[in-house]
C-alpha cells in the first residue's frame, strides 16, 4: 500500500529555534498514529505543517504523491500557489487544542458554513449533513446554541463534527483534551475512540493521554528534541522500549 502522506527530511525553525531536525514519516491510509513527547519537542509543529499552517524550512511533504509546498515550473521547484495548497487541504482536517469555533455562529452554522462555502453545497443539504454529524457526536439537542454557551467538552465535540463533516482522509488532533477540565476529557476521547474504530480515515493524534494512545493507536511516535526517537506499535514503544529518554518521559508523566 502507498503512503498517503510522506515527510522527507523535514526541518522547521522559528527564528533561531530549530524545532524539527529531519523528520521522515510515512502515514498510510486509515492508519492511527499517536505522537507523544515532552512539550517543545515539535509534536504540534509536525501536524501544523501538514495542515499548511506552517511552512517547512527545509525538506518536502508529499500528500497522495504530490509535493505539498512546491511545484515544478521550467525544471525548477518553486513555491506552490494557494490553489495547490487548497487542493491538498481538501483531504485534511484538524481539531485544535483551543477549539477555535466561530463564536458568532450557531454550532449548526459552524458546521454548515464550510460545506456551503467550500463544497458548494446547498444550504438545506449542508444543514442536514451537519445535523447528522452533530447527532453522531452527541449534540443533537444543541443545533442553535452558540459556542459561548457550551462546555469545553461540548465545544471540542462540535469542533470535531465541523472537521468530520468535510470528509477528510486524514484527521489531525492537536492536544484536543489539554484545554479541558479533567471530568470533560472522557466524552471527547469517547468520540475519538468511536472514529478510530469505525472510520476509514487516517488519524494523527498529538496527545498527552498515554493510556488512550496505547489503546487506539496502530503506531506511536516518540518525538524528542526535534527527531522521531522511537516509532512502532503502541505497546512496544510505551511498554517495552529501553530508550532512557522515553523511560524518563514516561516516568515523569505517570508520576
Amino acid at each position: 500500500m502507498e503512503p498517503i502522506v510522506q515527510y522527507k527530511n523535514i526541518h522547521k525553525s522559528f527564528g533561531d529555534t530549530h524545532v524539527l531536525k529531519g523528520i521522515d514519516l510515512d502515514i498510510y491510509p486509515g492508519e492511527k498514529i499517536a505522537i507523544i513527547g515532552p512539550s517543545g519537542s515539535g509534536k504540534t509543529t509536525i501536524i501544523r505543517l501538514l495542515m499548511t499552517l506552517e511552512e517547512p524550512t527545509d525538506g518536502d511533504i508529499y500528500v497522495a504523491g504530490k509535493n505539498l509546498w512546491k511545484v515544478e515550473r521550467k525544471g525548477k521547484m518553486v513555491p506552490a500557489k494557494e490553489k495547490q495548497l487548497a487542493d491538498v487541504r481538501k483531504d485534511i482536517g484538524m481539531v485544535f487544542q483551543h477549539f477555535n469555533l466561530f463564536p458568532h455562529k450557531t454550532i449548526l452554522d459552524n458546521c454548515a458554513m464550510p460545506l456551503i462555502n467550500v463544497k458548494k453545497m446547498k444550504k438545506g443539504e449542508a444543514r442536514e449533513m451537519s445535523k447528522q454529524m452533530l447527532d453522531r457526536v452527541g449534540l443533537g439537542d444543541k443545533y442553535d446554541a452558540y459556542p459561548a454557551n457550551l462546555s469545553g467538552g461540548q465545544k471540542q465535540r462540535v469542533a470535531m463534527a465541523r472537521a468530520l463533516v468535510m470528509k477528510p482522509k486524514i484527521m489531525l488532533f492537536d492536544e484536543v483534551t489539554s484545554a479541558l477540565d479533567p471530568e470533560l476529557v472522557g466524552e471527547v476521547l469517547e468520540v475519538i475512540r468511536d472514529l478510530a474504530e469505525n472510520d476509514e480515515m487516517a488519524m494523527v493524534l498529538v496527545t498527552h493521554e498515554m493510556d488512550f494512545a496505547l489503546e487506539i493507536a496502530d503506531r506511536v511516535l516518540f518525538l524528542d528534541e526535534g527527531v522521531i526517537a522511537e516509532s512502532g506499535p503502541a505497546d512496544e514503544v510505551i511498554n517495552k522500549s529501553d530508550n532512557p529518554r522515553l523511560q524518563g518521559f514516561l516516568k515523569r508523566f505517570r508520576a
Binding site: 495542515m51 487548497a86 485534511i92 482536517g93 463564536p103 467550500v118 465541523r162
Partner: protein
Amino acid sequence: MFETGWNILNFLTQGLGTTLSIFLTATVFSFLMAFIAGLTRLSGNILIRGAAAVYVEVFRGTSLIVQLFWLYYAVPMLFNINLGSNWWVGVVAIALNYGAYMSEVVRTSVISVDKGQTEASIALNLSRFQRMRDVILPQALRLMLPEFGNYSIQILKGTALVSLIGLTDILYFGDIYRSTNLSEGPLAYLMVLIMYFIIALPLIWLSKKGEKIARRGVAS
C-alpha cells in the same frame, strides 16, 4: 433671555440641513474609506499596502482645515480639478481625513481577532475572501463599533469647519447672528454648542450601544 435663546435656536436651524447633510454623507464616505484603506493595509502586496499607508499617514498627519483649504483653493488651481460645489469639497475633505483615522480602527480590529480563527478557517479550506467575509470581519466589526461611534461624533464636530469655505451650516448662522446682535454673542455661541450637543446625543447613545455589543465578546 430664555426667549432670546429660543429665537437664536430657531435662527440656527437654517443651518441644520447643511450640517446634517454634510455629516451624514461624510460619515458614509469615511466608513467606506476606512474599510478600503484599512483592508488594503493588510494586503500581501507591498505596493498596495504602501499606497494605503501613505494615504493614512498624510491625512492623519496634517490638519483637516488645511486639507479643506487645499481642496477648496489649491487643487482646482493646480490640477484644474473641480469637485463641483463647496458642499462636495467639505464632504470629501472630511471623509478623507476621518477615513484615514478610522482605517486604523479597521486594521487593528481585524488584527486583534484571535489567530485561531484564521487557522480554523484555513483548516476548513475557506478561501482568503471567505475567511475575511464569514469569519474575521463579522468578529472584527464588533470590535470596531465603539470606536466608530466615537469617530462619528468627531465627524459631526468636524463639520463646523465647512463654514470657513462659505457653507451655511449651524456655525455659519451663529456667526451671522452674533455679527448683527453683538451684545448677544455669548448666548449665540452657547446656543450653537447646545445645538451640536443635541445632534450628538443619539450618536452618544449609539456608541454606548456599540460598546455593549462589543463587550458581548468574541473569542471562543
